[in-house]
Subunit: 433 residues, 2 copies
């Protein structure tokens, strides 16, 4: 372990868990923060609202402005002190958020204040934004989402890759996130391992999915595929990825899209972020049938979701390629090897081939992200809020069926059309329970 | 840049370039070293013999023992102060050598003393070992080489990979070598870029290879292939590789094989080390015709070399697989996903598939290492000592022809047999000059 990383694993001296009263005193002493909130500190409202799994989150409102204040706890909030988790994640989250704010400022909350010792970050309060997943459960369409999320992904991934950075800058960047391995380990276990074996924390909609879960625990082709994806996650340092880019990490209004919570960030495979977005859209699609009040009342929503799957990939690929064509300042694919018109044409062909390989990665990771949400520890409200458990299981079984095909027949999905077509065909499929 | 890496880029205070007299005083003050050399310091013989491109190398002999002392200079020795190169490389070399000494102690010189401030390492004096490349130019057969080098590669690569390390250990290990980017940059430029474009430092056996060099500078399929290999070199953190594993970095006797000079070490693709060994054997094979005194007098040597190419891959693969079967303590391919006889069989099939992918990488890197030695800055004595320039060009043209095939038709080389067969077929090929 490097000295800096080792130091960051310790609880910093000066760390203490804040309650509302502590936070009021703390914020009042920071002129920039107090100025932004406005009015006397004793009139600020401070409410702890953290409904996430890991951290404290306070909403602070003054007379002229509001803030969201996030403080990491030295353990997993959902579980308690028996599951310790290093405070250093607040450092990596702040580092990743700073990177994203520089490259896609409209896509993330503005950072107002960061305190390394307290593992605390104060950010712009996102109002009236809601968690995108909640909106999608309600059947809300977000027409601006595609443009925003594809800009976010294309810019944050491209500009941290070998296509934009020198090899030296990239190696230093990899090193600066290498200490975030406790968070990576959560992904390695909960996404890439546990759903495929007997694990205490696994759960699923029983008894209907018992047989499917058992099938997946016995499907050795699937186990090879997930193991290859896990190895890619651990050894392909392609770009600084968000690492947890699901629709619960995205806050939206009709016109704005903000990505939050990059505490899982590290240098990993780009397809993991892209797959996270695709997977969560596909799960919203399959869950939608379970949220119908009258047959067909969510048809427009479902059409929008599948169209969005399509456009997320195509939009991302288009923007990423455009950046590569105009801002390729990195050491990979040096332009001097592709001179003249013939060189430009050959490089363009290779760019398309590169995107085709990235698409294959994204398809695999999409499948991994679906399976873990249905058979693993962490589920999502898309499915969980379907009250009729059997109906929920039907929706989940359709998603699992798609995921297994995506993971074991990845090479046959050569375009995003093939993915949405397969999803559409499963919309009416009835599993035999 | 991380703090520790930034610090290491500076010239440490206390650094000074040593001459023979300085070194005598310095070593005499270190009891362990003085004891190993034996006798009074004034009777030690100290000779600077560095014939490498980068560093000072002193041979020190006392009455009871000898040492090789390597000191890094803050610039490339071959070129001078106009090409600065960080002293930190001595730190990374020592770190890599320590890793190798732990895993393959018989394959590297024992470390006697390391001084970080002076960028200096004192090692076991290898006597009567000679640089393997010199022996091969002379037509010497090294029957123990295959077993030794395959053990070295299998153990150093396997035990630094995700198959042996936890993901956390691996990330920390990646970070600990990330600062060695100045040395990586040499590889990125001189191997993966310059030979494929007009570059001041390129040279080749002119005029005979002018047309071939121009062809290679115009071959866009080759440029795509080398760019993919370069990207893999920069972004695939598979294992701690030696990074410069040619036959000039190997010292041999009939019974011993010692790998030296791991200053290019970092976390990169395993195939790069394997390809380096294969490429340098293949170049020795093609150069051999140029060293004949009477027709056929090197037939036994050439047969041994091609057999060795074959056995290097097969021996490496066999040992790597054996380690995977018995010492898989890493986070990749968890055994819990492959239970029972069926699981074991499926995992074994996947191990073979993994090796087939690694072989493809090795084939590509083999080609890259051949091309750079014939068209780039750094050449090797296998070819350079062929006095008749035209005959040298014939040998080099054969090697280049194989390399182009290996790089652009990589997928068609599915076994090492296919590589040695193609090499053998080119032995009598006459280029049209």
């Amino acid at each position: 372990m490097t000295t800096s990383a080792a130091a960051r694993q310790q609880t910093p001296s000066g760390y203490r868990i804040l309650n509302e009263a502590d936070l009021r005193l703390y914020l009042a002493a920071i002129p920039a923060v107090a100025g932004q909130l406005g009015g006397p500190a004793e009139r600020w409202t401070i409410v702890e609202v953290g409904d996430g799994n890991l951290n404290l989150v306070f909403i602070v409102k003054g007379t002229t402005g509001g803030l969201a204040v996030k403080q990491a706890l030295p353990y997993v909030r959902l579980v308690g002190e028996s599951w310790p988790l290093p405070l250093s994640r607040a450092h990596y989250e702040h580092l990743a958020l700073s990177h994203q704010a520089r490259l896609a400022p409209a896509s993330v909350p503005a950072i107002v204040h960061h305190d390394a010792a307290l593992a605390l970050t104060a950010m712009e309060l996102l109002e009236p934004h809601i968690i995108m997943r909640k909106g999608m459960v309600a059947g809300t369409i977000y027409p601006a989402f595609v443009d925003h999320i594809t800009t976010f992904m294309a810019r944050t991934l491209f500009f941290s890759s070998d296509l934009a950075l020198s090899a030296a800058e990239k190696k230093e960047a990899i090193a600066s996130f290498a200490g975030n391995h406790a968070l990576c380990k959560i992904t390695e276990d909960l996404i890439f391992t546990d759903p495929y074996r007997v694990a205490e924390q696994n759960r699923w909609t029983s008894p209907w999915l018992d047989a499917t879960a058992a099938d997946i625990r016995a499907d050795l082709d699937l186990h090879v595929a997930i193991s290859r994806l896990k190895l890619k996650f651990m050894s392909s340092a392609e770009a600084l990825i968000h690492g947890d880019l699901h629709t619960g990490s995205i806050m939206v209004t009709d016109t704005e899209t903000k990505v939050i919570d990059p505490e899982f960030a590290f240098y990993g495979p780009m397809g993991f972020d892209v797959g996270a977005v695709l997977a969560n859209l596909l799960m919203a699609y399959f869950a939608s049938a379970g949220h119908e009040r009258t047959p067909g009342d969510r048809q427009a929503f479902e059409g929008w979701v599948l169209g969005t799957v399509d456009q997320v990939w195509n939009g991302f690929a288009g923007k990423f390629l455009a950046l590569w064509r105009s801002e390729a300042t990195g050491d990979a694919y040096p332009l001097s090897l592709f001179p003249g018109d013939a060189g430009a044409a050959r490089l363009e062909t290779e760019r398309q081939a590169y995107m085709a390989r990235l698409f294959q990665d994204a398809v695999g990771f999409t499948a991994a992200k679906i399976i873990r949400r249905i058979l693993g520890l962490a589920h999502n409200i898309d499915f969980e809020l379907i009250e009729d458990a059997k109906q929920r299981a039907v929706c989940e079984a359709r998603a699992l069926r798609l995921a297994r095909r995506l993971m074991t027949e990845t090479a046959s999905f050569t375009s995003i059309d093939a993915v949405t077509k397969a999803a559409r065909e499963l919309r009416e499929w009835q599993p035999e329970f």
